[in-house]
Structure formats: structure tokens, C-alpha cells
């Protein structure tokens, strides 16, 4: 099993702690003038997202987490799992609801997603930063209002609800920033 010495610690390194995969957010080397050196780190649990602090004796080794990122294409959802495909190897992988999180409200079939794999299984699925989705339901806007001020809720084809300007109509395509969940612009084409 691969491992890392505390000397190799840096932000972004993936390690195993208490049987869970973590990513190092911040690493600080602490050493009294003469004596025991420590690495004081802040780590994020890749399953729960929770950030905790942990101190290691410098020189200790920690098991590496077999975590890496890849781009996979979303295929379909069978009601329980979401299926993805590696576009190069055609290998298929499934992600559960915990790995999908809020991503389910943003993606459509064929979308390319950044997927974090842990021991070969999806641990976390991120949607593309921008998606184009059809508005399936929104109140009719006031005629002639193009200011975009105020806004109204709109339900999208994936089920997500975003605030859109008053001029956006049911059936139109819009571009959304999935990181903030905010409307960006009207789109011509999916």
C-alpha cells in the first residue's frame, strides 16, 4: 500500500484516516527550536465534506488514499444508481445518491462530469460548471420587461429551480452556473 511521509504533505494530497479518504487542505510545520516536530494539518473528509484538524509527528507515514479525478459521461439513472461511462475505455461505473449529492439537479444524459474515484468507485460527482437546460415551468413574465430586475423562480427539466429574469419563458433554454446555482443568460441551443 502506498504511503506518504509528512515531509510530502501539501495541499491537495489524498490520505487515509480512520478508514476514510481525506484531502489535505492546509499543512503547517510546527517545531520548537530543539525538539519534536509536528505537522499540523487541516483535512477534508472526501465522503462527508467535513473539515477537521489533525496533528502528526513529523516523519510519520500515512497511508495514501487511492483517490483520483476523471471525466466521465453521464448515461442514465435507473431510479437507484446513476450510470457513467469512460469515453475512452467505454467502461461503465455507477454512483449512488450520496456521491451524486446536488449534482442530480443539474445534469442531463450525455453531460461530461468530473468524477472523483476512490478505490475505483465514484465518491463524488461534480456537474459541469455551466449547463444549458430547458425551462419547464415559470410564470408568464410581464410583456416588454427586458430589464431582468426582480426575477422569478423557474423550474428546469432536471428539476432544479433557479431565479430567472421576468422575460424568460417556459420552453426556453437557459445557461446556469452550477457552482452558484445562478442564471447566466438565455441560450439558443442545448
Amino acid at each position: 500500500m502506498a504511503s506518504y511521509s509528512t515531509n510530502e504533505f501539501r495541499g491537495g494530497l489524498k490520505i487515509m484516516l480512520d478508514s476514510d479518504p481525506y484531502v489535505i487542505v492546509e499543512n503547517e510545520f510546527v517545531k520548537p527550536g530543539k525538539g519534536q516536530a509536528f505537522n499540523r494539518v487541516r483535512v477534508r473528509n472526501l465522503k462527508t465534506g467535513r473539515v477537521v484538524e489533525k496533528t502528526f509527528k513529523s516523519g510519520e507515514s500515512v497511508e495514501a488514499a487511492d483517490v483520483h479525478e476523471t471525466r466521465l459521461q453521464y448515461l442514465y439513472n435507473d431510479g437507484e444508481l446513476w450510470y457513467f461511462m469512460d469515453p475512452e475505455s467505454y467502461e461503465q461505473l455507477s454512483a449512488d445518491a450520496a456521491a451524486m449529492g446536488e449534482t442530480v439537479s443539474w445534469i442531463k444524459e450525455q453531460d461530461m462530469c468530473n468524477v472523483t474515484l476512490w478505490n475505483g468507485s465514484p465518491l463524488n460527482v461534480d456537474p459541469p460548471n455551466f449547463v444549458v437546460l430547458a425551462v419547464t415551468e415559470t410564470d408568464p413574465g410581464l410583456k416588454g420587461d427586458t430589464s431582468g430586475g426582480g426575477g422569478k423562480p423557474a423550474t428546469l427539466e432536471t428539476g432544479a429551480v433557479v431565479r430567472v429574469p421576468l422575460f424568460v419563458q417556459t420552453g426556453e433554454l437557459i445557461k446556469v452556473d452550477t457552482r452558484s446555482g445562478e442564471y447566466v443568460a438565455r441560450a439558443k441551443d442545448g
Binding site: P32, F38, E53, G59
Partner: protein
């Protein structure tokens, strides 16, 4: 920043010129390595040695050759030099850093503390900077309500209980003391004040003389400015027999930790045997002092080029 460094170096040299302390230089690369198990020397190779290529170790401090000069009758000396410590990297650590080290034959370590405070005030142009002196024992009593000379590992572990992510550490007594010092006490030290911590547990003497009182203590001090450690000083050990025992204990500790066996500085031991005058000495991290002078939060801000871009 370059100007601030040049100015700081000028102030320091000015201080020692006025105090009658002579500037010296000693070798950076040496056949002997630091024995301290907490330090790791960088090494390099000298291909010109008569007996064939030889490993040379980059100094972790100029302490031993400077003591050889004291033994040779140099009188009071100071040195500004680069020192190297492998594996040390962080916001207060850089594997290569600038050290100011000086020795005062005939002076006690308590008197040296006074001179250190004067130097720092002079170098920073801050004559008003407040000074507090507190023994290591009193420091732990005040901040943590425990006696660092006698508390057992269980008590020390208990005192660290409130610290997140420290429960599983496997440390010896000194390791727990170091943890409590770095994680609990240092952040609580008064900002913008010089704090001298003195009289350490004998187990943390390194090269300081041990005073055999009813409660033996190592005649060692550390200087903090705010929560940042700036300097470490000793009433220097001058007894060659005791020195050799400590080196041997270091080597044993190193081999117990699976570290390399390293060549000791025999020339230094010979100099001690010939007789080194009683002296107090101190080493002060110049990059950190420059951090204070310039309000920097990371040591890299004080360097022309940090190691990753060197």
C-alpha cells in the same frame, strides 16, 4: 524587503561593533554532522579529498566550530551565516536560513538574555519593546496548571485533550511537552512583547549546562516575540566527558529512530578537552526577526528566492 534585510544586518553589525564582539566565519561544510536527533543535515560531496570523495555535511548551526574558536582564545565572537536543516518547511521554516549566533566568554546566560533583548530592540529600532522573563516551569504552571518537571505522560496527554486531532499521538514525555508548548502555550503568549523562557527540563538540555539544584534544570533559554520563537541560548556545557556522553546519547536516540549513524565532531571534543572558557551563547533566526521588522506572515516573504524557486 531587500533593503529591510540590509538595514537589519547593518544594525546588528553596528551593535556588536559597539559591544566589542568580533565577527567571525567558520566552515559551512564539515566532515562532522549535527548529532541532535531532532535535526537532519543536508549533505554534499567533496571530490578533492586525499582519501577519495568524501561526504561533507552542511551545518545546522555554527555552534561547534565557534566553540573551537572560544577554546583557542578568540574572546567574544559573533557570526551571521546560512544554516541548513533538511525536512523543515513551513510558514516559519525554510531548509536554508540565516542565523545570528554569538558567544560571550565570562558572561552568564541570564546576563546574555539582557544583551539579547538589547540587540533585538536595537535591530528593530524599538527601544520600548517590553520584556518578560519566565521559567519553563512557571510558564507551564501559569498556562496549563501543571508541573512540567514532574507531570507524567498521562497528565500531559490529558492537558492536550482539548486539542483537535492529537488524541492518537504516540509521544514520549518531552514530545508531549513540545506539543503543549507549540500548540497551547505559544499561541497564548502576549503579542508584541519579548518573552524569555528559561531553565528547561534537563531532558531538553541539548548543549546547555545542567545546574544541580534540588530541582535540576538545564541552563537554557528561548526567546519569543509574540508567539514566534526567535532565539535559543545556553550556558554552554564545557565539560568534555559530559559532552561526549550527550553525543553518545544522541547517537543512540538516532539509531533507535532508525536514522543514519553520523560522524561526531572529534575536533570539537578535543578543543573541549584542551579547555573552553565558561561562556554563554545564543542563536537567533534572522529571517524571523526580519518577519517581525517587516510585518510578514510567511518566511518566504523575507527571502529573495524560496527553495522551490532557488
Amino acid at each position: 524587503m531587500l533593503k529591510a534585510r540590509a538595514y537589519l544586518l547593518g544594525r546588528i553589525r553596528e551593535f556588536f561593533a559597539a559591544a566589542g564582539v568580533m565577527e567571525v566565519e567558520t566552515p559551512i561544510a564539515s566532515r562532522a554532522a549535527a548529532s541532535d536527533p531532532a535535526l537532519n543535515s543536508l549533505r554534499t560531496r567533496w571530490s578533492g579529498a586525499e582519501a577519495g570523495p568524501q561526504t561533507l555535511y552542511l551545518q545546522t548551526s555554527p555552534e561547534l566550530p565557534m566553540k573551537r574558536l572560544l577554546a583557542a582564545g578568540s574572546g567574544p565572537i559573533f557570526q551571521i551565516c546560512k544554516v541548513f536543516r533538511d525536512g523543515e518547511r513551513g510558514s516559519l521554516h525554510h531548509p536554508e536560513f540565516s542565523l545570528l549566533e554569538w558567544y560571550r566568554p565570562g558572561l552568564g546566560y541570564r546576563a546574555l538574555m539582557t544583551e539579547v533583548a538589547e540587540l533585538v530592540r536595537h535591530a528593530l529600532d524599538r527601544p520600548e519593546l517590553a520584556v518578560r522573563r519566565i521559567s519553563y516551569r512557571e510558564l507551564f504552571r501559569t498556562h496549563l496548571g501543571l508541573d512540567p518537571m514532574h507531570a507524567d505522560v498521562a497528565t500531559l496527554r490529558q492537558a492536550a485533550d482539548g486539542l483537535p486531532g492529537c488524541r492518537d499521538l504516540d509521544l514520549d514525555r518531552d514530545g508531549w511537552l513540545d506539543l503543549l508548548l507549540t500548540h497551547r502555550i505559544e499561541p497564548a503568549l502576549a503579542r508584541d512583547r519579548l518573552t524569555f523562557v528559561y531553565d528547561y527540563p534537563p531532558s531538553q538540555a541539548t548543549l546547555a549546562r545542567i545546574r544541580r539544584d534540588a530541582e535540576p534544570v538545564a541552563e537554557r533559554f528561548e526567546l519569543y516575540l509574540g508567539g514566534m520563537e526567535l532565539a535559543n541560548g545556553f550556558q554552554e556545557l564545557t565539560d568534555p566527558g559530559e559532552q561526549r556522553r550527550r553525543f553518545d546519547a544522541d547517537l543512540q536516540a538516532r539509531s533507535a529512530r532508525g536514522l543514519d549513524r553520523l560522524p561526531l565532531d572529534e575536533a570539537f571534543l578535543t578543543a573541549l578537552e584542551a579547555g573552553m572558557p565558561e561562556a554563554a551563547g545564543v542563536a537567533l533566526g534572522l529571517d524571523r526577526l526580519l518577519m517581525v521588522a517587516t510585518g510578514s506572515t510567511h518566511i518566504d516573504q523575507t527571502l529573495a528566492f524560496p527553495v522551490e524557486r532557488a
